[in-house]
Amino acid sequence: MSELAWSIYRASGERSERRPGFAGYAYRELSSKKVKDFEFTLPVESSDKHDQLRSFILGIREARSDEDAKRIVDILLFELEAPYSNKALRTAATPLGLQTALLQDLRGITGKNNPANLALILEQMYALGGGKASMASQWASAMTEAQGGGMPGWIDEFYAQVLPSNLADVVLSIGSLGPSHRVEDLRTPTWLSNLEGNPFKWLATSWDRLCDSGWIDSMPRRRWTDWAACVARTGLACGYMFEMHLYRRLGAALISDEDPDDVVRQLLNDGKRLFSWDDQVPRSAADVGPVVTQLASAGSACMKLIHDLVSDEGLDFPAMCEFDDDPNGLVAWLAAARAARGGVPDLQGKVARALAAKKAGPANNTWEMIRYSLLSRASDGEQDLYGVLRSAGRYTWVEPGQEWLVTVSSLQAERPGQLSRLTDLGASLSALGIDASQRTIVSRLESYGLARSSHDADDALEIMPGF
C-alpha cells in the first residue's frame, strides 16, 4: 500500500529535491550499523515532531499531564509499527492512512537502489483482471471517503502529524490526484478477460469490493488494512504462479502436435489446481514446495525462451501481445508459433532444457516472490493470520491462516452482511489455483463460525461474511 500511495505521487511528475545519497524512507532503525543514508520517520524523543505530537495530545485533552502525554505519544507510535522479522534492519509503519503509508518506501524497506516496481506489477495484474480504475486510486478513495472507517478521528489526525513536514506536498498531491489516478498502457488481452476464474480477476474484484462497498467502515481500520495486504499479496503470488504455469505449458506445447484448443483448455483447467489443500493428507504427500520451485524455474526459463524467439528478428516468431484482441488469442498464438517453429534451430532441445531448467537468475526472484507472499510469516510468537502456505523442515503445505479464509470468503459477498455460498468459495479458490477438498473447507468454516446451518447441503452451504 505504501508503494501504491507513492505511485500516485510519482505519476504526478513532481519531484521534491532530495539530498544526494538518499536511500529511502523507513520507520525505525534496528541495526546500529550505518550503511546508507536512510531517513527514519519515527519521531525521536525531544525532537520538534515529538513535542508537536505531545502538544496535540494535551490539546485534545486525552492526557492531563505532560508526562502522560509523552507516554501516550510513545504508545501510539509503538502501535503504528508493523511486525518485522528477526533479520530485518529497518521497520515499517502499518499503512493505516494516506500519511502513514508514506512513512516508508520500498527502497527504504528493502535497502535496494532499484527494487522491483511492485505498484506497477500490481496495477498490471489488476488491469488484467478488468479492475474498475487503478488499485492506487481505489485505495486512496477508500481512505478519503471512509465514514469513520474504523479509525477514531483524533488518532487519524495524530498519525497524519507523524509524517515529516517535507512530505506534506506529497500528501496534498495524492489527496487531489489519487481518486483519478490511472495507469496507462497496460495490456488487457481479450482472451484473459473472457476467462472465468483467474487470479487477476480475483484480485481486481476483491480489491474493488474491499475499497468501495462499505467494508472499510464495518471493521477496525487495522483489520481492513490487513485484509487489503492479504488481497494484494495473495493476488500477486497467485498471479505469478498462473503466469509461470501458462509459460511452462505453452513452452512445452511448442514442440508437441496436440490440438492447440485442447492444449489451452487443458492448461487453463490445470491452472485451477496448482496447489491442493486437504487437511487430512499427511504433510509429506501435501508438499507443494516442489510445485513452486518447478513453476518458477521452468516457467521463467520458458518465458525467457519465448521472449528470445520473439526478439530474434531473423525468426519472425509471433509475440503473444499481437493476439491480445483475439478472444481466442492463446490458441491463435500457439498455432502461429507452431507455424513459425520450423525456422528455429534445435527448438526441441531448447524447450527440453527450459523445462528442466534449474532455479537460477530471474527464477530465483519469482520463487522468492511467490514464497514470500504466500508463506505464513510468524514473528514474535504471533501467528501470521493471512498466510496461505506453511512450512516446517523439508515440507511446505497449504494451510491458510484463519483470517485468510475469512477474507477470501467474505469478499465473495459484494457488501458486508451479505451471505455467499460454498460454491462461490470453491470458485474463488480455484481461481487462485487452489484445489481444496470440500470437507476441509467446511470444517474450517465451521470452526471459524462462518458456516451457517447446513441443511441445504453441499455446495449450497451458506457462508456468513466476517463483518
Binding site: Q147, I155, G449, S454
Partner: protein
Amino acid sequence: MIYPTWILERSFGGLGVAVSPLNGALQSRWPDGRSSPMSAEACQAMMIACSAADNLGPAHMVFLVGGAGNGKSKLAADVVACVNGTARDEPSAFAQRCYAFDLPNGRGLRVVNDATIPPADKQEFALQRDIVDALEAGDHFLGCINRGVLIGERQEPDSLENDNNRVASAIISWLLEGELPALPTGNAEIKTAGESEDASENYGFARIRIAGNLVAVVHLVYMDNASLLEEWPESEPATRTDAALPSCQPKVTPLLDRERGEVESAFEGCLSKLASGYLNDLPAENLDPVRSNTLSLSNTSVARGWCSVMRGAEILSGTHFSYRELWALASHSIIGPLASEALGELQKHVQLQQDRVRNGNPQEQVRSAIALGNLRAHMLLFDAGRRKQGDEAGDFGWPETSSDALKAIQFADPLKHFGPRESVETSFLDEAINGLKDGHLPGASLAETDKLVRYYWTPLDARIEEIVSHAVNATGENSLTLKDRSRVLSWYGRYLYRLKALASGWPAHVSIVSEWQNTWIDAHLGRRMNPDLEDAVLDILAPLGDDGRTTYFTFLQPRVSAGDNSANKVRIEIPRQDVLVGMTTSGDRLDLAISLRSQSGGTPSAFTTLDFHLLREAMARQGGHGFTDSLLVIEPRIERLRAAMVATQIRSAGSRSRYGFSDRRGLVKG
C-alpha cells in the same frame, strides 16, 4: 428366519431416498409422515385451484423452500397425481428440472421439481425465468427450491425492466430473506397479506397485481423451519385458496419440561409405525436384538424418548434433521448402518451369538451376550459404524459409516454428560450397577420402578443382565479374570446408562438443550433474554477489565482483544451498559443481534448464532465457574463480534468514546 430388506431402502445411502413427481406411488411399507406445517395445506390449495372448473381465477404459485429430504418432491408428486394433468413432454428416466402439464380446465401447471438441476440452456437466472414464463402464460406454478439456488439468483428488482421479471426477482428475494422488497413504481405490484406478514415463520402469502388486476397469488412455505422432533399442531381447514391460509405454529417443548413426555412430536408416529411394521415381519425370537429393537421402538413412549434424544442432537450440533435423515437414523437404530446384502451376515452373526448364549460355556456366554447387547438400539445409535478404536472380538463388523447426522448423534451420546442434574442421576445409577456384585439385577429393578425403562426393557435385556450378573459373581474355575470382570462391568455400565438415557429422552447436556429451547421460545415470542443469561453472554462478549468495572478493547492490533495492561496498547471503551443483545429466530435457528446504544437505529452491528457452545459457555459463567472447552470453539466468532462492536463504536460514538492507554509501566490515565 430372514430379516426383510425393505428397511434398507431409506438407510444412509439407500436407493429409495429421492422422489420425482412422476413416480407418485411410494413404497408401501413405509408409513407416511406428516408434511411440514402449512406445506400440505398450500399444496391442497394448489390442487383445488388446478381442479377449478374454469380458468378465470388468479394463477396459484406455491413455493416449497428447504433442503433435500424434507418431502418437497413427495408433495409435488402428490399434487401431480391428483390434478389429472397431461404431461407436455415425453417422460424421461432421469430427474428433470421442470415438468409441465396441461390441466383439464385448459390451464397449465409447471412444476420445478429440483431447481438445482440447471436448465438445458444453462441460463444464469433460470428460476427467475421459470417464474416469468409461468406468469406470462398464466400457468399455475409449484416450485421445490433450495436456498443455495436462491442466493445465486438474487438480483435487484430495480435493475430489471420487465414487470414480470421484477416480480420474479422480488419473489426470489422474499424466499431468501423472508421479506418482500419494494418494487419500483410501475405496473407491477406484489404485496403480502394476511397474518402471515409477521405471525408465521413457516408460511407467507402474497398477491401479485399487474396494472391493478390480480394475476396470481403466492403461497410460500419453508419446509425446514420446524423441527420434526417437536409438536406440529393441526391447522384449521382453509376456506378459500386465494387468500392467506390459516397458519399453524409448530410448538417447541423443552426437553426437561414436564409436558415433554405428553406431547407427540411429528416424527414419533413414523418411528413407532416403522418399528411395528418391521416387527410384524420378524419371527418371535426373544434373543433377537433386531426384534427387541422393534419391540422397544414401537412403543410410543420409547419413540418419544428417541425423538427427544434426536432433538438434543439437532440442537447440540445446530443442524436440522430432514425426513431423509430421520428415516436413516430410525433404520440405523433398528438394524444398524447396513447398506445392502450384509443383512444375511448380520443374521448369521446373531444366530451364532444366540447359540452361544444358549449353549456356550460361561465365558462364551458373556462374550455373546455383550455382542447381542451391542446390537440394541441404544448401543447401535452411538457406536455402530464408528471407526474402531480397538478390535472388540466378537463384534459385528459394521461398515465404517459417517454422515453429519451420525456425527450429531455421536456428539449427543449421553455417556458424555448424563442426565438433567448430572451428579444426582450418575450416583444413583452407579450405585445400582454396583449392586450387580451383590447379585442384584439393577436393570430389572429399574424397569419395575421406572415406567419409561419398563417400556424399553425386553426379555433380551433381562437375559443379558442375568448373564452379566452371573459372570461377575462367579467363583471357581468359571470365574473371569479381574481384568475381564472389570471390562464386563464397565461395558454393562455404558449399556445401562445409555438405555436409561434413551428411554428417558436425555441426550448429552440435556439441561443446556432444554435451556436453549426455553431461550428460543422467549425469542420467538419477542421477549427479552433471561437477564442472568444475558449477563453471561455479555460477560463473554465484553468481559470486564482488571478494575472490574469497564471494558476496553485494542483496535490497532491484528486482533481485537481485551489484552493485558503491561504492553504498549491503546484501547477503546465499549460501555457494557450500552451493549444490547437482541434475539431473533429464523426457523429453528436462534440468532443474537448485538447493537450499541450509541447507534442511531439501523441494523445491529453484529449477528451470531446462539448455539450449544456459546450457550454452554454462558451457562457455565452463570454458575460463576466459567470456562468450558467450548470457549475454544467460539473464540474466533467472539473476536469478530468484538471487532464489529469496536467499528460501530468508532463510527457512531465519535469523540464521545473513552480511550485507555497502557505501557510496560501499566495504565496511563486517559
